[in-house]
Symmetry: C2
Subunit: 547 residues, 2 copies
């Protein structure tokens, strides 16, 4: 090898922080507080406070590599932590406030969190597990919904006396910067430790035209929580390019979101399908009540978005939905569903394509393999497990702080030749568009053949009476497993089993159709909005046996 | 440091090549040949041929790190070299066909080129220096304007029998990929050896919305030669995102360029000011003759673009000009002049700002320093030398192949604390916008004060009679140096010295005004379009002494 002669300049978040300070002082950061009021400041205010936080943490004894946990909603002080912690060389570990205290204690203990910065509104949750986590030496309270209680260090008091500039240290681009635990629908939660390099490259990628195209002219609303896979990277990207940021705080109701978009002239917003389904229902109910013309795109990810939703936004409200796929393990954006140039499609075909997961973003490689690990052709038909690799894909899980179980978990998720096994069962068509047909653990094995639950769910959710549908494996004497569907009706609507089967019949082989339909008030979901199919299996798995 | 746990996936051009093959087979590559005809193929054709070239070079004995020289115009076969050579681990060294044979022999010998791939139309130039370069073991002729002469290996025959797929090797991201020599207006030409990492990051950067925003929907016309600082990176970016490419071949006349833009519906084109000045004159002469509505932007760089040109395109032809700055040493794009959000500007102020060099692109840091190396404040007033650093900035020059002068040249271009000294004298305003006032070697030192030649030139070129103007230092008995201007009249126009001075007077301190004006038929330029001020100084430097 003849080495190139270019500077060994590290790819770190520090560069973006400094860039934002130097070039974009005027852009605003708007946060909705728990009382509904809006806090506003500009990056001109943000940077001195972030420097103060960095100084205060350093004074407290936070060292490179130490984990600083946050337990908070999306707001400006969380944004301060987002850069101050990694840029002093420490690791920001965002705790998921939707988890049970027993899960949080496991995660915080496993991560070895040393400092915790907690929203006052979440102190009851924090105190429910804090005692279980002896590694936590310091607690700082963000006074989001009122003054910090006596006995706690208040965030504002913590930073107030510090100087407002900071000589950020030079960091190795491979140093850990951020940490998230997977939601863990199976097994124990696993820690993903993102490096500066990983997040910096992901940030650049999000600003490329053909992914999300984030730019200074954007006003970005991360509805997705900052503890959910780094807020999908939008927060870092917004700071990097100097975009205006709008944080929703705790109120993620459809009305609150729509109102924020209209009032702050949001151009780009991202959330899971559940949120956007709620917003769509509200817009359908009150068409033209809000002026949402500022939106250039809304992004949906975290779970498959029904095609009917994408169509509903486009046809009834003129809003473009961009479907994406990713995981905590991919920093998280790994694919974007975008219509390529030169595909000759009817509008119906285009909609179908946009409802797929799309194809890999720059610097991610994709393939799918069968049970034996054989790489499958891109024919749009053969189902296999999706594997990805790239500089923002996890290479192993965090093995745990000293004193916790020392063995790296999830070693079975990585192939010999360096790919990450996503656990998603997909087809890939000739153009490279991925369609997730199932989670590998959810796919139904009926008489030796695979049945994709997600395809059935999407088709059921296009029925006019169905709000949500989950299809899962029920035990069957003859076939081993057979599909069973759980449906939730739209308000005031319903349908018979025969009507639902008739709706599905033209779309699937006969043996794919669910053997029965259960009507539920709601479908149990994980904290990140995914159907809890294990719970459905546990509760209703014997349903067909008793029939 | 706690290392992050993300994949150690290298940033290489191979990723973009494979990405283009997998996802963008339909997009076209159009090349104008020397006879004026257009050659067309798609990436579906490009990739097998590129694999064939890689195999043929490997068979020939090209090893990782070997330099493969190209001497060619912009066309599809050059595009094949652009990826095949770096992706087998070798280094593509693009030779500048506008140089003198003596310069080319120095450069090729210094680089130690092993293979040369030469356009048939450039064989006379090549043969004029080949004998001086003993390292060249193989010559391959691209039959661009007719069949290869007997005794030469023909490019098509060279690749024809090879298989059309290639298992690209895994490369270190720090490996050398490309090499260019600086045009060397002072001293010997110096080699810049770009790494895969450097070019890969530069490619991503060009596709970010706030720089050039290259995307799949673009049709890219690199008027700038592929031997001029990697064609400004546009070619790599176009392949990476699957944009259509249009190569102009040897005919860079205004008529040929405009005709290509109109015919191929070009959306993005880039060239030096000379080219765009010529195109503007043509458009002014024949307004509305061509439909150029496909253009979303033309980029200008390589030298400062006159504000009058930027205004002319905008006001008379509705074409947006984006001004950029860079050097061979910066891969090359380092700054972009883009109007930031929230600046409250009159249209006149906006034009002025767009004519500046702009501010650093992501991952480039900028500062300017005085004679003693002290970092200057961003006040828009104090002049200092611009320094940059980043992952696509050179760290040292190529020290030369074995047998050439072994000492690295240009060590004085790098500061102790890791910045590259650009040799440009600039001001930087509060917003970070850079304005080049001069090359450090061109600045005029009159009685201890600095006079910026470029500011005077820009002002002179806004005079209705002036086509081009160069201002340079002439020796002066009392003041040491005084400004002298060389002007070229627009066809059929002229002005008196007094009229020119009156035009400048409101804009500058009185002692800045040129002592005299010389009328020339043309101003001597380097092969990359820059004024040859050393030549002007040599020829006319004593002019004032004799007056």
């Amino acid at each position: 090898m003849l080495p190139g002669l270019m500077m060994d300049y590290p790819l770190t978040l520090t560069h973006f922080l400094e860039r934002s300070r130097q070039f974009f002082p005027r852009r605003e950061v708007v946060s909705r507080l728990p009382d509904g009021s809006l806090h506003r400041y500009s990056y001109r205010d943000y940077h001195p406070r972030t420097a103060q936080l960095a100084r205060a943490l350093t004074r407290l004894g936070v060292k490179p590599g130490d984990r600083v946990a946050s337990l908070g909603w999306n707001h400006y002080r969380h944004l301060e932590m987002y850069f101050a912690v990694p840029c002093i060389g420490a690791v920001l570990h965002t705790l998921n406030l939707r988890l049970h205290p027993s899960e949080l204690s496991y995660i915080a203990k496993h991560a070895g969190d040393k400092v915790a910065i907690v929203d006052r509104s979440l102190l009851p949750l924090f105190e429910a597990f804090r005692k279980e986590v002896p590694s936590i030496e310091h607690v700082i309270v963000v006074p989001d919904d009122g003054p910090s209680p006596p006995g706690y260090t208040d965030y504002e008091a913590f930073i107030a006396s510090e100087e407002t500039t900071f000589a950020w240290p030079s960091l190795d681009e491979r140093a850990g910067a951020l940490m998230c635990y997977t939601s863990g629908t199976t097994g124990a939660p696993k820690g993903v430790l993102y490096s500066h390099r990983s997040t910096a490259l992901h940030t650049m990628m999000l600003c490329m035209v053909d992914t999300k195209g984030l730019s200074e002219t954007d006003t970005v609303l991360p509805v997705v929580p900052m503890f959910h896979a780094n807020g999908w990277g939008m927060v870092h990207a917004a700071v990097a390019v100097g975009a205006k940021l709008v944080f929703p705080g705790p109120d993620l109701s459809p009305g609150a979101i729509v109102e924020l978009i209209a009032r702050e002239r949001v151009t780009f917003a991202a959330a899971v399908p559940t949120i956007w389904l709620g917003v769509l229902a509200l817009l359908d109910e009150h068409p033209k009540k809000w002026d949402l013309s500022s939106l250039r795109m809304i992004a949906v990810g975290g779970a498959a978005a029904p095609a009917a939703m994408i169509r509903g936004y486009a046809e009834r409200h003129g809003i473009h939905v961009r479907h994406t796929w990713g995981m905590s393990e991919t920093n998280p954006l790994a694919t974007v569903s975008r219509i390529k140039v030169g595909l000759e499609l009817t509008s119906e075909q285009e909609l179908e394509l946009r409802a797929k997961q799309g194809f890999a973003v720059p610097f991610v490689d994709q393939r799918h393999v069968d049970d034996t690990g054989k790489v499958l052709p891109w024919d749009g038909k053969q189902m296999g497990e999706l594997e990805v690799r790239g500089p923002f894909v996890v290479s192993s899980y965090f093995s745990g702080a000293p004193g916790t179980k020392g063995e790296p978990e999830g070693a079975d998720k990585f192939t010999q030749d360096g790919w990450f096994k996503t656990g998603d069962v997909v087809t890939i068509d000739e153009e490279g568009y991925i369609q997730i047909t199932d989670r590998s653990k959810d796919v139904i094995k009926s008489g030796g053949e695979w049945i994709s639950t997600q395809a059935l769910e999407n088709a059921l959710m296009s029925h006019p009476a169905v709000l949500e549908a989950a299809v899962f494996a029920a035990q069957h004497e003859k076939w081993g497993e057979r599909p069973l569907a759980a449906v939730v009706w739209k308000p005031g609507k319903s349908a018979t089993n025969a009507e639902l089967s008739a709706h599905l019949a033209p779309l699937f082989a006969k043996w794919w159709l669910p053997d029965d339909y259960l009507v539920l008030d709601q479908i149990p979901r994980t904290s990140t909005g995914k159907f809890k199919k294990l719970e459905l299996r546990a509760k209703f798995g014997a349903h067909l046996l008793s029939k």
